[in-house]
């Protein structure tokens, strides 16, 4: 709860968890919205859906905050986001849609041709930036090919840095199940990246 104790202009939105400890809910949002958004975006492969998922997840978190037992807030938030993404994926299976539109940007100076899976890069070189975008797109394609549970396990453990125990809490499954899903997810992702090795950057081709 240490990350939600700082002063926020939206401190009036107070919530209390199961132990009775009060918290500023907008502080919770500020602390975890980036992780929540990235998890939802990689799970859903759609930035617009990801925004909806995160919004819905925070609303659900606000309503259910009195059931939070005050243990690991990040894992708890990511668990809500995971459940929301699963529901959205299930509903999207019944009405499949593919979002390939370029991401709309707020200012017109930004390039309009970026895909939804493009990620901002800290690299300054245009070649490195293009390579990073290509790798991110390839990884997203391979992630989409994985099973939903394995994809979630890889994202939670490798991208968001959760431990197996925290991932177990977020996914609502046993520790052994998390180990198995992480292992199989990594194997599947490795096989996929090997198959699409032509598209990978030279650095990754050497490693794999």
């Amino acid at each position: 709860m240490a990350q939600i104790t700082h002063i926020s202009p939206h401190a009036n939105l107070l919530v209390s968890d199961q132990t009775g400890q009060a918290a500023c809910f907008n502080c919770v949002i500020e602390a975890h919205q980036t992780q929540a958004y990235n998890l939802a975006r990689r799970m859903l492969s759609d930035w617009a859906l990801a925004e909806d998922a995160v919004q819905e997840s925070f609303v659900s978190a606000y309503r259910a905050f009195n059931r939070f037992r005050g243990e690991n807030l990040a894992a708890w938030v990511l668990r809500i986001v995971s459940n929301t993404c699963r529901d959205m994926l299930r509903s999207r299976k019944s009405r499949p849609t593919v979002s390939l539109d370029p991401v709309p940007s707020s200012d017109g100076d930004e390039p309009q041709g970026l895909s939804a899976v493009d990620l901002p890069s800290t690299e300054t070189s245009p070649e490195d930036r293009a390579e990073q975008s290509e790798l991110a797109a390839t990884i997203q394609v391979c992630l989409d090919g994985l099973q939903e549970d394995r994809r979630l396990a890889i994202l939670l453990v490798d991208v968001h840095g959760l431990s197996y125990e925290e991932a177990s809490e977020s996914m609502g499954c046993s520790l052994g199940t998390v180990k198995s899903r992480v292992s199989r997810g990594r194997g599947g992702l490795r096989d996929c990246l090997r198959q699409t090795g032509e598209l990978l950057p030279s650095r990754f081709r050497q490693e794999v």
Binding site: H10, I29, N38, Y62, L135, V182, G187, V208
Partner: protein
Amino acid sequence: MWIFRSTHKHIAQDALSEYLDGRLQGKALERVELQLADCDACRQELAGLQAVVAVMQQQPMETPRRSFIMDAPPLMVRQSSPGFALRAPNWVYAGAASVAALAFAVTISMDATGGLTSDPLRHDAATVATAPTSESAQASGATGALSETGPMEAAAAEAEVTARFGTGGGLESTSAAGESTADAGVTTSATRESETESAPLTLAAAAPVAPTEDQAVQTQAGGGISDPAAEEAPLAPPAPEIALASEATSAPIVAAAPAPQGGEDSVAKSTDTESKSPVATPGDGSDKGSPGSGGVRTPPIFEPATPELYDDVVISGTSVWWRVLEVAAGILAALSLAALAIRWRTGRQH
């Protein structure tokens, strides 16, 4: 060496993944390190997994394009807690639904096959309807004793018959308008049999309206329309009531010959009951020699009788209680299934 190679096993992928995350300890860690030192394929696999993990860990976190800070608290949707009745375990609802559905199916099937007929006379009535001639013959024989009892009883019986027929359920009334009290007895007996089929509605209020000898004479004179005795017969006090009963059915009185006085009521009764009679067939023995009928038949009119005219309702056919049981079983089954569905939906939401 050959034996060693044949028995060599690659490290399981789960163990490699755990080794990569530094989660192996003790003997498991030593075993994996020994196998890695000996197995090139295992090392290559480990390198591939390491590369995947490194690439995934290097994936940057994108800042959301908009903030999800809430300006106002979202609406708190009240959790739709199931009511008291829905807090029971699922097997309660499943069992209730099964039992109710079974009861519903049983009662429906029994009803369809006629097993729920509570009135034992229903089959007799059906027999009467199919074989009116034989029943009428039996009725004629049965009324022998009745005719011996005297004209007063016969007249009373006839009055009852006409009253009942006037309300919509009737048999052969033309014989009642005949010249003998025995005929009146015939109609009485036949009426008892036809009650079960014709309608559950009998008017008993008019039964005691003609206990006098005058009524007997009047009834007897009803058959002979131009009989002066009928004309001389004084208007009995209950006669208007009987006529009222006849009018209540709105039956056409066209078949009746015009009888100006006391006989008019009797003729009206006869005509009305004749039109209502479902068993009035040309071959009916009791129909013979009935001048009142005169062979003129009006089409049968089946009108729902006015409820306020009847104070004695006889339920025939399937008992009402069985109907109630059927409906209750169906409703209970539907409610139980609905409760199961609601619990299933709420369980999914939670």
